[in-house]
């Protein structure tokens, strides 16, 4: 574990974030979201994201330090998201972190973004310790991990096509909602009947714990094409049924995995963990099964740097100046998580 306060930086997608962490405590966590910049494009544009990170990262770092009441020279390490993500975006964070660590004279910790999501619940005040089963669902990722050791999560399943958040966004678009559509879809679904339409089950095969959302999305596309102009009630029913087809399997697989591996707790992470229906299904199931549920506040579920700081506590730091040879990497390693 890093001895003393350290800075964490995250720039893998469309949030520019910095945090100061000390042991398991978040001293500060600043997130500058670019979401509005990408709205006109219906998705994150890598070149626009990278440009915006460059103009923002130093300000966000300065704010995180000021809010925590530290100077850069107090930092005992600099942690940064190294992979996976948009390469141009990652390179801004990694170049910044390397130069900061080089100038401060401290080690650099190259963190896997997904380990960050898994470790978010380890932070105070939730302070969840292994063993637990983790579900990470976001616009870029959907995965289930058995966590007996935070340094080495064991992959149980992942999506074989779209990510859950991507599927929610695409569904929202088919129903005429804007981008990012997940939250709008959830609002619309509140007035609808989740059993009104039978979508295919979003599972990547009976034998595995993988997920598949492409079929659900295609099914909605056909319904919308076939039915043409939808009444408000029908749209709400479809939104509700579609959302259910995506989040119910997530909750079910998470609860099943906890039962099968006899762990006392489950954890949610990623932007889709903000989905109220998913939270409801997971809470109900966990209460019945007597499981502890770790659901970090929304700001710790969506991309942030505090979680990168948490994962840094389980990642080997690279000494000064050896880290100068470190580089950003767009893809996840085989197995899904570098730790």
């Amino acid at each position: 574990m890093i001895d003393g306060p350290f800075l964490a930086i995250e720039t893998s997608c469309d949030e520019t974030a910095a945090a100061v962490i000390e042991k398991r405590v978040v001293r500060s966590s600043i997130v500058a979201s670019q979401a509005d910049l990408h709205t006109p494009y219906g998705g994150v544009v890598p070149e626009i994201a990278a440009r915006h990170h460059l103009g923002t990262v130093n300000l966000v770092v300065a704010q995180a330090l000021a809010q925590a009441g530290f100077e850069l020279s107090d930092m005992r390490a600099i942690a940064v998201t190294q992979r996976p993500g948009l390469i141009g975006a990652l390179l801004v964070g990694v170049s910044t972190a390397k130069a900061l660590a080089y100038a401060v004279g401290c080690p650099l910790v190259c963190v896997d973004h997904l380990l960050g999501h898994i470790c978010a619940s380890w932070l105070e005040p939730i302070a969840l310790d292994p063993p637990f089963v983790s579900l990470i669902a976001s616009g870029g990722h959907t995965r289930l991990d058995l966590v007996r050791d935070l340094a080495h999560p064991e992959t149980l399943g992942q999506t074989i096509d779209d990510a859950a958040g991507e599927a929610l966004d695409k569904g929202a678009r088919l129903l005429g909602l804007g981008y990012p559509g997940g939250p709008a879809l959830e609002r619309l679904s509140r007035g609808g009947d989740p059993t009104a339409h039978a979508f295919p089950v979003a599972l990547g095969g009976r034998r595995t714990r993988d997920f598949s959302f492409a079929g659900v999305k295609t099914s909605l596309l056909y319904v919308v094409r076939r039915e043409g102009d939808l009444s408000d009630g029908r749209r709400a029913d479809l939104a509700s049924s579609y959302q259910e087809a995506i989040v119910a399997p997530l909750a079910a697989r998470l609860l099943d995995a906890a039962r099968e591996h006899r762990v006392p707790a489950i954890a949610l992470g990623g932007g889709v963990a903000a989905n109220g229906r998913l939270r409801e299904l997971v809470s109900e199931g966990a209460a019945q099964a007597g499981l502890r549920v770790a659901m970090p506040e929304i700001a710790l579920c969506t991309d942030n740097a505090a979680m990168i700081g948490a994962a840094a506590q389980f990642t080997e730091p690279v000494a000064w100046p050896d880290f100068l040879a470190m580089d950003a990497m767009p893809t996840a390693p085989p197995g899904g998580i570098a730790a």
Partner: protein, 235 residues
């Protein structure tokens, strides 16, 4: 003043350490599309080789482009983070002006120098400057992203009037046919004029041509171009 200068706008990033505008040490990387990623590592070697401690640096000078977007961002992110950590000023200089200074050294006053990087997509990142009697640069074109033939056309009048125009850089090499067709001279292969020196960025700053240390992309993101076209109803 002890200055650390870097430019990652090309595939041959350049670093220099200068003291009171005299070069203490300099080096180049590449040519390699990913060379920018090693710029800080190279900076460490340069500091070690010159025996200068990082904490002694009083100023960071960084090339702001135009040039390859990713390389440019790595250099700027590195410069800004060093400036932030060392609490020293970060000053920008136009990368093409640094390249122009190298060409200007090989010609007489009154000649037009045309520094150009290969911008791919059949375009050059280029600018044109008239060399002043004191070796100063008077901007005539750019910096812009432009097809070589179009750039050549903009200088045809000057050439007809008998003005020499000399180009260098990777853009001069890829655009050779179009440039030479109107009489623009290309610096000889292997000439130092093709090489952007980070130390020349410091010279530009000393000449009062320092600028805001933010990137000069010279191109909008493709997605933005497409969106603008769509909203204008064009193709």
């Amino acid at each position: 003043m002890l200055t650390f200068a870097l430019d990652t706008s090309t595939q041959s990033p350049s670093l220099a350490i200068t003291r009171n505008d005299r070069v203490v040490g300099e080096l180049w990387l590449g040519p390699d599309p990913d060379a920018g990623r090693r710029v800080l590592e190279a900076g460490h070697h340069l500091l070690c080789a010159t025996g200068i401690g990082l904490s002694q640096l009083e100023r960071i000078v960084v090339g702001v482009g135009p040039g390859g977007f990713t390389g440019l961002r790595i250099g700027l992110a590195t410069a800004h983070a060093l400036g932030q950590a060392l609490a020293c000023p970060v000053v920008g200089a136009i990368s093409l002006e640094a390249l122009a200074l190298g060409i200007a050294e090989t010609v007489d006053p009154g000649v037009i120098v045309l520094p150009a990087h290969d911008a791919r997509r059949a375009e050059l990142f280029a600018a044109a400057y008239r060399v002043g009697p004191d070796g100063g640069l008077e901007q005539i074109i750019g910096p812009v992203a432009i097809p070589a033939a179009l750039l050549a056309g903009k200088l045809a009048g000057q050439l007809r009037d008998g003005v020499r125009v000399v180009s260098a850089g990777t853009g001069a090499i890829v655009g050779r046919d179009a440039l030479e067709a109107v009489g623009i001279e290309i610096a000889p292969d292997g000439s130092g004029a093709h090489r952007l020196r980070a130390a020349a960025l410091v010279e530009r700053v000393a000449a009062g041509a320092g600028c805001d240390p933010s990137p000069r992309y010279a191109r909008l993101p493709d997605a933005k171009v497409n969106l603008l076209r769509a909203t204008r109803g064009g193709t």
